[in-house]
Symmetry: C2
Subunit: 334 residues, 2 copies
């Protein structure tokens, strides 16, 4: 296929049978030099970019290209969730090896299209290039009313630190993808799903963003110990982690591997749950509404306090999360 | 450096000493999960993504990382120019080898920042990853009033086909980068500049977009023969290429290599000049105003006509331009 033919095939894959809220505002999509859309008058626009690289973020032995496409979308959408924003449109830059490029592009776009349908975002454009390793760069644009946009700054001493769901499942899924015989059952399925088809917490982010009692928000993509530290730095606070919410699947995998389940959650990363700070007096009420709406708990993991330090189990918490460029950083997906 | 430290260093590099028109509308930039901005109420938003890959679009032997950073920005900005849009903000996803990652990231961002300053666009966010080859994905967002946005569709039979500048210089620069001793002088400098530091035609695009007599517009990034074919397909027309505007530098290099200078311009690509169609009766007037404003000519290269074919020198024109995935496609930058 020529490049123009591939673009046509992609456009067909992305074709949506039913119109979705806001989609009519895309005035010009794939096929021209750029896409054109009408931003909402009452909202602010939000943009974020995420990159996935073969051999760094995923390996073909443990993840299909379709899953990798989904994952790249999920990672970018998670940043919109962290701002409390509604997804509008995305662009996708794909680098793909020359051999069997067509088939690889179609497989990647199957996952991209599935995530786009699920989270109601329009793929409005992109670029294709040959590249010896598969690389996927997704840029997402969303909208949020200014009063609802949450940043990492804004938390204050005394605020409750909470997460939208238990952590460590994606890390557990990675272990299981590498050692499929480690265990069987529902926890295995849940962990592999969290690893291969993670869910960006778009609905949860919009719900929490709408509350004036949520003082800061971010996504927990590099592990709680790293991300809580970032939130604290932006908010000018320290924190005590009182409990770490560990996913059942993570607990089971960690135990089978003889590792500390809480460390799995602290260092695992890529769970795409949201980390929020909530005014202490409002936490119980908000958590109640959250549980009613989402049928799961808003999990308290600690509290902000004065100072700069992060404390866990009565001692300063090491940085356990994943850093792309720190020396000796383990390869993810590896 | 850790990832957080690298992000701080990048933010410092991108710090602008003077405020630029529209920059105050960026409400939240680098450092949070996403960037936040206030779109203009009277305008439409435009988005485009471009990807540069080491070994495909550039080689380190012939282009510094600083130039590659500029080039990636220029390629993305050129798509905004092609819509008649004003640049607002960009995000950048960089993949960089682990060895000496810090220094490479800083060098890439020097070029990115220089282009951002020159074309008045704010770098609002991005992502970093290790990758065995340098990959640069740039997403740009711009704005245009709806009546001024130009697409590839809209040209009709009889319209004049014109370009904003002579073609082939970037291709000439590539040849010179590979064979520096081929020639000396002003043409060499111009060609190397066109190859390493190309200029997206933002001002020209905004000027032409404002004219109701410009019926379609696109950027000429894959060679006139490929891009004119795309414009014709979108506009449902054929075209006759009467003359090909060849840059002086391209003419000199082609002659020294014993090649046809017009083929250089037809197939060369990456010149980032704009290709426009103009209502025939208005062309002379518009070209006069263009020359007065930009001190260079709007160059007539042919005319649209009924049918589907592209004709050059009295015969159907082969597809000479560059296609990323066509079999036997030459490696660019190579």
């Amino acid at each position: 296929m020529t490049e123009d033919e591939i673009v046509k095939a992609i456009a067909a894959l992305l074709c949506h049978p039913e119109p979705v809220e806001g989609r009519h505002r895309i005035l010009l999509g794939i096929g021209d030099d750029a896409a054109l859309w009408q931003p909402s008058r009452s909202h602010r626009s939000v943009i974020s970019t995420d990159m996935l690289v073969e051999g760094v973020h995923f390996r073909r032995e443990t993840m299909s290209l379709e899953d990798a496409g989904w994952r790249a979308m999920a990672a970018a959408l998670s940043d919109l969730a962290a701002m409390g924003a509604r997804p509008v449109l995305a662009t996708v830059a794909l680098g793909v090896p020359a051999a069997k490029a067509d088939a690889q592009i179609v497989e990647l776009y199957r996952g991209i299209a599935a995530a786009a349908r699920r989270f109601e975002i329009t793929i409005a454009g992109g670029d294709l290039s040959r590249c010896d390793l598969v690389t996927i760069s997704v840029t997402v644009v969303g909208e949020v009313s200014n009063s609802r946009a949450k940043t990492r700054a804004g938390g204050g001493p005394g605020d409750v630190l909470a997460v939208t769901g238990a952590l460590g499942a994606a890390r557990a899924g990675l272990e299981l993808a590498n050692q499929p015989r480690l265990m069987e059952g529902a926890n295995k399925d849940a962990a592999l799903q969290a690893f291969r088809r993670p869910t960006p917490r778009i609905a949860e982010g919009r719900f929490l963003g709408a509350s004036a009692n949520v003082t800061s928000m971010m996504d927990c993509s590099d592990g709680l110990s790293t991300d809580a530290r970032r939130l604290c730095a932006a908010s000018g606070c320290g924190a005590v982690l009182e409990a770490v919410a560990v996913a059942d699947s993570a607990r089971e995998v960690a135990q089978r591997l003889g590792e500390d389940p809480e460390r799995f959650a602290l260092a695992g990363g890529e769970d795409f749950e949201l980390l929020v700070t909530v005014r202490a007096r409002a936490f119980r009420y908000l958590a109640g509404r959250y549980e009613k709406r989402f049928n799961k708990k808003l999990l308290r993991v600690g509290a902000l306090r004065k100072g700069r330090d992060l404390e866990w189990r009565g001692a300063p918490l090491d940085r356990l999360g994943w850093d792309h460029f720190a020396e000796g950083a383990p390869r993810r997906g590896g």
